[in-house]
Amino acid sequence: MKLLTHNLLSSHVRGVGPRGFPLRLQATEVRINPVEFNPTFVARMIPKVEWAALLEAANTLHLAEVPTEPVEGYECDEAFLRKMHHVLLEVEVLEGTLQCPESGRLFPISRGIPNMLLSDEESES
């Protein structure tokens, strides 16, 4: 699971609503995976990022050099884009958990795939 993906996940436990975001990340196995740098793509992802959630996750993983906010003219700032590329796309959480901040429910991540399935009691309807 990449941090860009983590940035999009929220808890769907019954009654939690928007308080189910962001999920608290805990990782037991992380891999740094070189990915071809595509500045155009990274630049397009920047507006989609929820920064607080990203910083929290990056912090948990003890990542260094994580920009705290988008800089003006970021589309042309290669240094900035490269850092974002690394944080968003090259850090893979292979094993760990995601925790709903409201209910405490844990969602496991195994083999890089988060399991967000809820039991019947937990789900909304």
């Binding site: 507006p47 989609k48 990022v49 607080a52 988008p70 003006e72």
Partner: protein, 550 residues
């Protein structure tokens, strides 16, 4: 090295005439594609084939994604009139396909060789040992006949235009098995194409095999087997070629029906629909690509397939539209493992993320997704109308909607405008002047997200017959109560696209589109009925117009 004609440095043939077979319902996609990709001219769709002219080279031709197979056209003419019982008369007419204009045959074959040679002009082709089959003429006839018979049997499957059909009966999401696994990637096969093409016998002899399809009136008068034999003999006599049923240089394809008589040669051994980059096929690749093309994927989009199965749709999309964030999700462990495998085999594991979740409970914030493309399982799992509605509701709320408020619409962090100003809910992104160009631009209406779904006939009818949406639908698709309103066609009728649709584009899809109803804030935009081999499906596109609620 190469015994084939053609000068070095000769450009690709100018305006060669081709045709492609296409799955039923995909013809409008193919017509658009040949025009867009190949700048094709004289594009016509007639009875399951799209004919076109182009001077594109083989690399470009191989990129066609909505076609089944690609052929060079040798002859297309009016159907044979079958007025008398005399087969002899019919056979002599068939022979004229070759004998009237043998020069044309040789010309097309030389175009074919040029196409394949230019594809590998930098490669040194190994000189393979040819093993010409020495047979007496009589034996040849029998062998040609035998093979034609197998062709005829195969023809029945081929008539469905699907070599890898998707299993649609009695299937739940979890139980869906991969339909086809290839040991060898077709890429290897295409090299063989070239070797076979240029490796000719001395005196420029080729080995060949005839593949024949007969239907309609002429199909009742003669068999494919007989036609194949007649063609085979005529070719041997005219050009001195030898028949090779197992591994010929050249395949000759002939299709006779009530609309036309068509003769062509397949450009490649392997159908275009067989993708080198897909290890285990789930949904038919041509349909997967067509769905992705309908979705209007743009660079920077977030595309989700919440029932991705083996990931076919995302693979096709990622290959065509690379600068996009793709996420595939499924309930099933085994499907996800298969998808993971597929991603690795295609080299796309870095570009497509996987999640395990239920489409009925999407763990995504509202308005966070730009595009949703999915093939909804046909089986028992989502049989009830309310299941389909629930799925659509889940998707609808996650989908990005139209907004007039800012440059990059959508409440969630995606509005950079907000990010760099104080209205954002995150305090961290407060300062900094906005890029002045953006700040001064007028407010822009940002189009809503799109959903493209592949629905069974059952699901399609459920969604478009909203008055009865609470009623359960039995497995045959008929309602338990009275028939629905007029706009919903009788589910027990066979909805059949007539074979003889002429070159009018999209005549049939209008019919299905008109029957679609809006769903909440989802506005129908397009609809195509497509064949999956054994069953049929509806490719439906919706766009989100406005947010339907909190």
């Amino acid at each position: 090295m190469s015994a084939a004609p053609g000068e070095p440095g000769l450009g690709p043939p100018v305006g060669a005439r081709f045709f492609c077979t296409a799955g039923r319902g995909l013809e409008p996609f193919l017509m658009r594609e040949v025009q867009a990709r190949l700048a094709a001219t004289q594009v016509e769709y007639i009875s399951g084939k799209v004919f076109f002219s182009t001077s594109s080279d083989l690399n470009m031709l191989k990129k066609l994604k909505s076609a089944e197979r690609l052929f060079l056209l040798i002859k297309k003419q009016l159907p044979f009139t079958v007025s008398s019982v005399s087969k002899g008369k019919i056979f002599s007419e068939i022979q004229r396909l070759i004998n009237d204009d043998p020069g044309n045959w040789l010309n097309v074959i030389s175009i074919w060789k040029n196409l394949l040679e230019l594809n590998t002009e930098n490669e040194k082709l190994p000189q393979r040992d040819t093993n010409p089959l020495k047979r007496k003429v009589g034996e040849n006839e029998t062998l040609v006949a035998k093979k034609s018979k197998t062709e005829q049997t195969r023809k029945i499957e081929e008539n469905m235009e699907c070599q890898v059909g998707k299993q649609r009966e009695e299937e739940t999401l979890e139980q869906r098995e991969p339909v086809a696994t290839r040991e060898e990637l077709p890429e290897a096969a295409s090299e063989n194409d070239v070797e076979k093409a240029v490796e000719t016998h001395p005196q420029g002899q080729l080995t060949f095999r005839v593949s024949c399809r007969c239907s309609g009136t002429i199909g009742k008068a003669v068999t494919a087997q007989e036609v194949g034999r007649v063609i085979g003999i005529a070719l041997m006599r005219q050009f001195g070629w030898k028949a090779d049923l197992r591994d010929p240089n050249l395949e000759v394809f002939i299709h006779l029906n009530d609309i036309y008589s068509v003769v062509g040669i397949p450009v490649l051994r392997v159908p275009l629909a067989s993708r080198a980059y897909i290890k285990t096929a789930g949904l038919r690749s041509t349909i997967a690509w067509a769905m992705a093309s309908l979705a209007e994927i743009k660079a920077g989009a977030f595309v989700l397939d919440p029932m991705c199965g083996l990931g076919t749709i995302l693979l096709e999309a990622a290959k065509e539209w690379p600068d996009v964030f793709y996420v595939g999700a499924d309930v099933s462990d085994s499907q996800l493992l298969g998808a993971c495998d597929n991603l690795k085999a295609a080299g796309l594991e870095d570009r497509i993320e996987l999640l395990q979740l239920s489409v009925l409970e999407l763990p995504l914030p509202s308005e966070s997704v730009d595009i949703i493309i999915s093939d909804i399982p046909f089986g028992k799992k989502f049989k009830l109308a309310k299941d389909i509605e629930r799925i659509l509701q889940e998707m609808e709320s996650r989908l990005f909607s139209i907004s007039q408020d800012c440059m990059f619409a959508g409440p969630r962090g995606r509005c950079l405008h907000r990010c760099l100003h104080s209205t954002a809910r995150q305090s961290s992104a407060e300062r900094g002047p906005v890029n002045s160009q953006k700040a001064d631009s007028p407010r822009v209406l940002h189009a809503g997200g799109t959903i493209v779904l592949l629905l069974s006939e059952n699901h399609y009818l459920c969604l478009n017959d909203r008055e009865e949406s609470s009623l359960p639908v039995n497995s045959k698709g008929s309602h338990t109560d009275e028939p629905g309103p007029e706009k919903c066609s009788n589910p027990e009728e066979n909805i059949d696209i007539p074979e003889t649709v002429s070159s009018s584009q999209g005549a049939s899809n209008q019919e299905y589109f008109c029957k679609m109803s809006p769903f909440g804030s989802l506005v129908p935009e397009d609809c195509y009925k497509v064949s999956l081999g054994k069953t049929e499906a509806f490719m439906c596109k919706y766009r989100k117009a406005h947010s339907s609620g909190p």
